[in-house]
Amino acid sequence: MEILHNIYIQHYLALSIALFCIGIFGLLFRKNAIIMFMCVELMLNAVNIALVAFSKMHGDTDGQIFVFFIMVVAAAEVAVGLAILMMLYRNMHSTDTDSLNQLKG
């Protein structure tokens, strides 16, 4: 079953790059730690798109297996990261990353 006709690999790479750069921009621009986490998720998904596109281009499944493992790592990262965020909120009463300045002398 062939359903993609006029789509080149560059289209998917451009989409992947766009999402990745949106993620980087949000990570640098926002201060809310939860939004920063979401930007990390966006970047991981951008990479997943590129991997699936290459897997499709070469016609084998290895890229999709990589995507599975990235999903595994992302799920583990979110679980631990949100637990850290809860602890941060409990101690600082805010999720602003600028409030984490206690190491400053």
Partner: protein
């Protein structure tokens, strides 16, 4: 032709809601826009004939991870609009850094026009059967290591989100 339109529509939705994630003031709206992005990405997986991956993507991301995000936002009571004060030099540096990254990555895309489907594969390489064979035959060790990673993450999350143990004992 129809799939071409679907590609552009899904790409537009993904990029638009990705931008909306980082410009919304309310974290709840950010989560909802991120779910929209994930559905668009799942549509892309469908277009690329990776049906099982699309289903898993929706289940894991939209079903589990984003619910976790919403739950944490609810528990922390963050759904009020906060005014963020970033100094303008940091904002400028963020724009410059991400723009430079965009330039570097866009320059790395080769100009060779490669169609996404080059080889005529006999079997579609996205069904659960092919993925299962590849996962349990060639990638068995990473698969088992992933379970250890999940166990460690689960223990870590439970331990971190508990109250301080010494305080509760005293």
């Amino acid at each position: 032709m129809l799939t071409e339109y679907a590609f552009w529509l899904l790409s537009f939705i993904a990029v638009f809601s990705g931008i909306a994630v980082i410009v919304s003031k309310n974290p709840v709206y950010s989560v909802l826009y991120l779910i929209m992005t994930f559905f668009a990405i799942a549509g892309h997986y469908f277009l690329m004939n990776a049906q099982f991956l699309a289903a898993v993507h929706i289940i894991v991301y939209a079903g589990a991870i984003m619910v976790l995000f919403l739950y944490v936002i609810m528990m922390l009571n963050l759904n009020s609009i906060e005014i963020e004060k970033r100094s303008s030099i940091v904002k400028l540096l963020a724009v410059v850094a991400s723009g430079l990254m965009l330039v570097v990555l866009a320059g790395a895309v080769p100009h060779a026009e490669v169609l996404i489907q080059q080889k005529e594969s006999a079997t579609p390489a996205g069904m659960v059967e092919d993925l299962g064979i590849a996962l349990y035959r060639n990638y068995l060790l990473p698969f088992e290591l992933a379970s250890i990673l999940f166990l460690a993450a689960m223990v870590g999350a439970v331990y971190l989100s508990k109250k301080n143990l010494n305080e509760t004992q005293n």
